[in-house]
Symmetry: C2
């Protein structure tokens, strides 16, 4: 077997948690990068990333982290990404490619592309992988193995820069696919952002329901807990995602409300055939994805 | 240790699947019943229940099963319960108590109470336990251990009959609690029937969403699968539950729709503070039940 080619010499990772740390570990295991420098607002995370060997070097701020890097990967909460890009812009090396791992793309890509100095390129990315854990200690080299990573280039994207980011993700084990940022956001509004919003609304409704003054949540069993697990996610993260993907999410909520209204109508009109059809269609969709 | 008292000599179980079969196994293990006779419309299930020792005897029909029994437990789909009661009425022994395990109570209790001959008593029941498996082979003696079983007596309920059903469930390991049938239905509309309806509507909406003609379900990951698992439940069962608990369920759907509309309003009006509050309240409800 031949030694895999080094894709770039120096990669900066801003945000050394599960997502950034796992990319670092995967690229080290694959030999795709010579040196990885980490930066994190949280000093404990940053020192731990160095101690655990997730990164080779650490930097005190974004400016120092990106100096001399051929590529930068940003894995911080979605609403913080444009601010991080703003900080790094004056210090980017010529030809540097900047990418991110945020789960919303159109707003981020539009803003960050506009911030790039001539010769540098921003490419939106979204690896479809994760665990319920966080922080550098949770990072592992095979997180992205066989998982999809969506890249969202635009008409402004440099082909060489796209190739670099794509090869980095492939070296990390991911299957790279490519789509328009708005298309990404409409898909994830449906399959991720809508389910979270629905789960939060459901728990809110059940928690505030007044059934003769009784706390109905005390009767919940395993099924309810499983169904509502995603309503335990970080409220600040979902506040940001809801606002950053506002338009697509509103459309998805409206589509869901139409489906629910249709189902409600079949219950109200006592339509056994219509109910069986509705539930069967939904079950077929659900069983088709397993 | 003293031998536990036999509660009744002869118990008939109509429907020898997971729920009925596990009650049989639990009562045998506890020594609460001398003889258990099983009856099931599905001949394979019935013979298997006998072969596996879930029941002592089997009967070809409901009439034969209930003859000489002091208690009858009905564990068949909710919409089939009144029909089973109708079949058994002419053959019930004097003083027999009939109970069920259906997840809807008001409609069943009203109908089945009215069918009882003088001296016999129907008491609605709902054990809060289950697994994803079904059939007599899935039954096990500890299914109800430490779980709640809700009984829904009415003003017509005979105290001795209630005591018999209550002692049977306690012998099976369950914690018996007691509530009015309509109260039960309003609670379970919130914590069980509403989540199922919402999950079906969500999968229906996402499955029929048109995002530039693409099958968005192909992008779903583990989170979506977990969240929508209950939309894989039996459509016929949920058709029946939706219709039998129609009124309470419509109220729960409307309460949920109000919560969702409130959340949608905070997204549309770009209200970060309001969104953080809503998500935090929901997360607190959710984390409180674990």
């Amino acid at each position: 077997m031949s030694t895999p080619p080094v894709i770039i010499e120096r990669l900066a990772i801003i945000g050394t948690g599960l997502i950034g740390g796992s990319l670092a570990r995967a690229l080290r295991a694959a030999g795709g990068v010579t040196t990885i420098v980490g930066c994190d607002r949280d000093a404990h995370n940053l020192l731990q990333a160095l101690e655990l060997g997730v990164v080779d070097e650490i930097a005190a701020d974004v400016a120092a982290a990106v100096r001399g890097a051929q590529a930068v990967f940003i894995s911080v909460p979605v609403c913080a990404i444009p601010g991080v890009v703003r900080e790094m812009v004056p210090f980017l090396a010529p030809g540097c490619v900047v990418s991110d791992g945020g789960s919303v793309k159109a707003a981020i890509v539009a803003e960050c592309e506009g911030l790039m100095p001539p010769g540098c390129c921003f490419i939106g990315g979204h690896p479809i992988a994760g665990t319920e854990h966080s922080g550098p200690a949770a990072a592992f080299a095979t997180l992205y193995q066989g998982k999809r990573c969506i890249l969202t280039p635009t008409v402004n994207t440099d082909a060489g820069a796209y190739d670099t980011v794509s090869r980095l993700w492939q070296a990390a084990g991911a299957q790279v696919c490519c789509m328009e940022p708005g298309h990404h956001d409409r898909i994830f509004a449906e399959i991720s952002h809508l389910p979270h919003v629905v789960a939060y609304a459901l728990v809110h409704a059940v928690g505030t329901a007044d059934v003769e003054g009784e706390n109905v949540l005390s009767y919940t069993a395993g099924g309810f807990r499983d169904f509502t697990r995603i309503a335990s996610s970080d409220p600040a993260m979902w506040r940001d995602i809801s606002l950053m993907n506002r338009e697509a999410l509103l459309g998805s909520i409206d589509g869901f409300s139409r489906s629910l209204a249709e189902l409600r109508c079949r219950i109200e009109s006592r339509d056994p055939q219509g109910l069986a059809e509705f539930f069967t269609i939904a079950k077929q969709f659900r069983d088709g994805i397993v």
